[in-house]
Symmetry: C2
Subunit: 657 residues, 2 copies
């Protein structure tokens, strides 16, 4: 700071308020060895949450114990487990099981898989998650959107009705790849890829998928035998209305009654959160009621289709069914990855919202490894895609998952024959009731109010899914989201700053209409890192701002423009294209007899400007710590140098006056 | 600003310097109608250079004339043309022609096309550009990298030796699509897509392509008859050294002599810019000397291959040769687009550097339309891919292109028989000499010094092209460039700010090591727009900064943390995911008994925070115009409220003391 007097103007100046302001020197941070800075970058990119912090300064044995606890959190909280927790977990586990059993059967049918797979998938994966998962509140199970996505992607290659065994094996294989993909993402700390699915995308996509799932249930509700394979709303409605003669009123009446009951239960629980168990138990009671009703009335002979035979016994191994050599391999991998991304986006969002709500930390990458292991083990034990689901049943620890798994096991071993007469229409009602909750129109309205572009993304995903298919919707939404990010990088904002009266503060003239222009000085704020994607744009935009300002000054006959100050506070980084841009802007300004001044360049920018010698071209004396100091220096030059420009001896100033 | 006294603390405070500082109010900009703001966004995205500015407030006839001049700049500068310009253009045009003729023939051979196409392509396209182009300095012609790319992409589908007619027609079709693509990009103002090829990418890619082209010339230099179709360095060298017995020393000696002569001429011109014509004329004199030599010595019978018969006469029409229905259609379209992007990147860069150098404005999108029309017309008149080339021969206006075209026409009509005995080895030497100039190792060294990541991108492109193939190199470089941009969006910097002694300025503590911490206050600077891509990261990063700070304070036993100030100056925009992030951070801080304070939120951010009611959640009184004012308010609370917290009556403050 003592260097200010080298710059050719007094180091101390008085501003309007009589304040004593030293001119501060812009500093270049000390150079860092290449590998140290690389290490920092990699760490910041892949380990922003510093997961290995606890391992620092520990003895080897302690490190080993911490390591085991890290990958198997059950050993960490297991020792602190007590009876109070167990009571809560027992109730929660049974509640979840009563929800998971009917939903599992329903979603397996949605995926065109044998209904029993839904039960298998609610047995082994929760056990794996209890061992490896770090969230206390998550329950694990099958999900509707993932099931539908799997059906749609695998169904495009193999017809599940004609070739059920091949289809089943492909489903296991796809589940295996989902698991592998999830483990890989987590292990390489690439979980942030899931962040590229924005909230708006997920709202639209989930809403669309839920709409499609509901439309598919018309088959079950109306008791139809033939149904289109397409999922878009036009094909489905055409298919439904083309066979009005085949509608079965028995089935429809039953369906709407149960739907009404389920919605009522849900409405009650929402009104009174204490009654959440009413809603949680509703699906199971529906199944029981429906089954009894069919059994008594023999409705299965009057157009009400039933589940039929379910095999007794727990999961048979399926490791030999994974088919890695077949020609459908790419389909399986593609399906695995796409369903994996969607399942992760759902699971991580659920986990994170619990963690936020209850104030504990979740390591998303570690969770991904847990989800992945769950699917890999699942694919070898006759399970298909599972992920975290939002049951919110008051679990205390992952023991609730063990309780749930045990309840499902008992069902598998003893109770499967009871499902023989369960009418499909009840399952359809359960699915519809669950799906209606996924159509989050309030979120869409919120998006419309706050951010029109997010709303557009959301609607594209919805319309793409409902009128096209599930992949089209996903591609459209991700494409639009990325386009927005890339546009924000390609077209950063530039703002004109003005002086806030009686202060040294300079702010956007549009946001603060009572700011004053500084005569002869144009102050621009550059709003983003300067990369190859925006350097051409910024060059043109800066020159247009200058043109506009000169036109304005010319027409008003005021003083001419002399200085252009660029506020670099928001420029976090710069690449070589950006530096060339600065060199060209400098040349261009020199030609127009304007002086370029930089205010508040950051550490990274100073490093690069220094290495590329641009600081020498510009002159260190034309860089200031704040816009205020830059303006003061310009004003000083404008007013005091004019009469003595030739005697000054400093060619630098007199050029510009 | 008068509202400050509503906030519970005196509106005026004295800072250390005795300065009178009012607390300034953060303002939300007036709401804008949706369509107006949409219009602004679209305008800023697609028309950043405001090309229609000159049309404003003009009469219809004038508008028409301006419109014609806009699309055909020749009508604009034509009326100002004079004899002085003509003299310069005449010399420049002839110089360019003397370069373009041998290079045209050479590059056509590089593209596996009949040599005469190189001459055709130097006749019609320059005429089109003279009519429509807006750069005064550009010459138009064929380019080596584009030719090689075309040969590589089309050659993968059709063997030019076995099926020359089909290959030729595909080349015309690809050129047509290049033109169509360029016109479309320009017309829809999407030229900024070309910006996504960074300078580093282009340096690496061009260097790699030049290396590959040079390697290909070993065939001509060594007089080989058989040669590999692969372009990678390993295959080429293996092919060359597998047939050492077939090397022809006559050819090699001739080649190296001419190469030496060409390089010498280039070296001379670089030393003395006035002698630029020596370098410009060298290729033509080489051709003439080589031809005479072969004619006299009958070297064509001793292993020196010659061009042979060239058809006399100007371009025959080729519009009927465009094959839109064939099964190679997709190949043609793909080739057209890829070569189009590369040609544009080269052409626009050349044009822009001239425009910068001579201080006139180039509308990149308009230039693209001119290039595109040039290729569309060219594809109908037996020309292949052309773009702007950097000849720098002192042109004054586009008339030099007309002169050049006329010179080429004369050659086509009268002089083609003279090329019969031109040895191919001379063409190879010309290509090598031109390509050596494209290997810009100085630029690569500069990249290494200034930006290691740019260097990595550059080297990936180079290695991809040289060891893989031209498409692999391009994909790798573009992928890495985009990855960098996406990472910068996914992982924005966050910095801790400290107080610069004796000022109200707060800056990065790493860049300014002599800053002071403010006790009890953590100040973080967020360095990028907050979008779905980074909101999870920022949430975790902010909470880690707070953990670290609390650990530090705990171990040093100083005051506890009370306030977290987020400097939002660099946050240009925010989406709904970003707002959720703020809501979660606020909840999290509340739970830890910390107070969230925002400093300097911008216009867009204020709009969205306002619409989403976050301002109400936070409290308008916790937003400040500068970090300095925020710190002052926090200090005031920390020191003056402590003793009177209970009598204060303001629950808000006493919570935090």
């Amino acid at each position: 700071m003592g260097n200010a007097d080298n710059y050719g103007y007094p180091s101390m100046m008085n501003n309007n308020n009589g304040e004593n302001t030293g001119i501060h020197r812009v500093e270049t941070p000390p150079p860092q060895p290449f590998f140290k800075s690389l290490k920092n970058t990699v760490k910041e990119t892949l380990f922003p949450d510093d997961p290995l912090k606890q391992f620092k300064n520990q003895k080897p044995l302690r490190k080993f114990i911490l390591g085991v606890q890290y990958f198997f959190p059950i050993f960490e909280w297991g020792s602190r487990y007590n009876f109070g927790f167990f009571k809560a977990d027992l109730i929660a586990g049974i509640t979840i099981a009563s929800l998971a059993i009917p939903q599992g059967i329903s979603y397996a049918k949605l995926a065109n898989l044998p209904p029993i797979l839904g039960l298998y998938s609610s047995f082994i994966p929760p056990l794996v998650y209890a061992l490896m998962g770090s969230s206390r509140d998550l329950a694990v199970g099958t999900v509707a959107v993932g099931s539908l996505l799997m059906a749609s992607m695998l169904g495009a290659e193999v017809n599940p009705a004609e070739n059920p065994t091949l289809y089943l094996h492909l489903a296991f294989t796809a589940t295996f790849f989902t698991g592998l993909f999830e483990v890989a993402l987590g292990f390489f700390r690439l979980g942030f890829i899931v962040d590229f699915l924005s909230h708006a995308t997920i709202v639209g996509f989930m809403g669309g998928a839920a709409t499609v799932v509901i439309l598919q249930q018309l088959k079950g509700i109306l008791g139809l035998e033939h149904f289109t394979h397409a999922t878009d709303v036009v094909s489905v409605l055409r298919s439904v209305f083309a066979q009005t003669h085949a509608w079965r009123w028995e089935s429809a009446v039953l369906g709407f009654c149960f739907l009404f009951y389920l919605m009522l239960a849900k409405f009650l629980s929402q009104k009174r959160p204490k009654l959440f168990w009413v809603s949680a138990m509703a699906p199971l009671t529906s199944v029981i009621l429906g089954t009894i009703l069919v059994y008594i009335t023999h409705a299965e002979k009057h157009g009400v289709a039933v589940i039929g035979e379910l095999k007794k016994g727990i999961n048979p191994p399926s490791i030999m069914d994974l088919s890695f050599g077949s020609k459908y391999m790419t389909t399986a991998i593609k399906t695995g990855i796409v369903t994996g991304v969607i399942a992760l986006a759902e699971g991580i969002a659920v986990g994170r919202s619990f963690a936020m709500f209850k104030n504990y930390h979740i390591d998303g990458n570690k969770e991904m490894i847990a989800f992945g292991m769950m699917n890999i083990v699942g694919s070898c034990t006759s399970c298909y895609l599972t992920t975290a689901v939002n049951f919110n049943a008051g679990c205390k620890t992952a023991v609730s998952n063990i309780v749930m798994a045990l309840a499902v096991m008992v069902t598998l071993l003893l109770l499967t024959p009871l499902f023989h007469f369960t009418p499909l229409v009840v399952l359809s009602s359960i699915i519809i009731a669950a799906m209606l909750g996924l159509i989050d129109y309030n979120a869409a309205i919120h998006l419309w109010h706050v951010d029109k572009f997010d709303f557009l993304v959301c609607m594209s995903a919805y319309i793409g899914v409902v009128f096209g298919n599930i992949e089209i919707g996903l591609v459209m939404a991700v494409g639009l989201s990325l386009l927005r990010v890339l546009l924000s990088v390609a077209r950063p904002r530039t703002l004109v700053l003005g002086n806030i009266p009686n202060s040294m503060i300079y702010r956007n003239v549009e946001q603060y209409p009572n700011t004053n222009n500084v005569p002869g000085v144009l102050i621009l704020d550059i709003g983003a890192p300067i990369f190859f994607t925006n350097s051409s744009y910024l060059r043109e935009r800066i020159s247009r701002w200058i043109d506009d300002e000169e036109d304005k000054l010319k027409s008003s006959g005021e003083t001419t423009l002399q200085y252009v100050i660029l506020d670099m506070g928001a420029v976090g980084n710069i690449d070589t294209s950006g530096i060339s841009m600065f060199e060209e802007v400098k040349k261009n300004l020199d030609r127009r007899d304007l002086k370029l001044v930089l205010a508040n360049p950051g550490a990274e920018v100073m490093k690069k400007l220094n290495k590329s010698k641009f600081i020498e071209t510009l002159g260190q004396e034309w860089m200031f710590l704040t816009v205020g100091e830059a303006v003061e220096a310009c004003n000083y030059m404008l007013h005091s140098c004019k009469p003595i420009s030739s005697e000054d001896g400093s060619q630098k100033w007199s050029n510009n006056v």
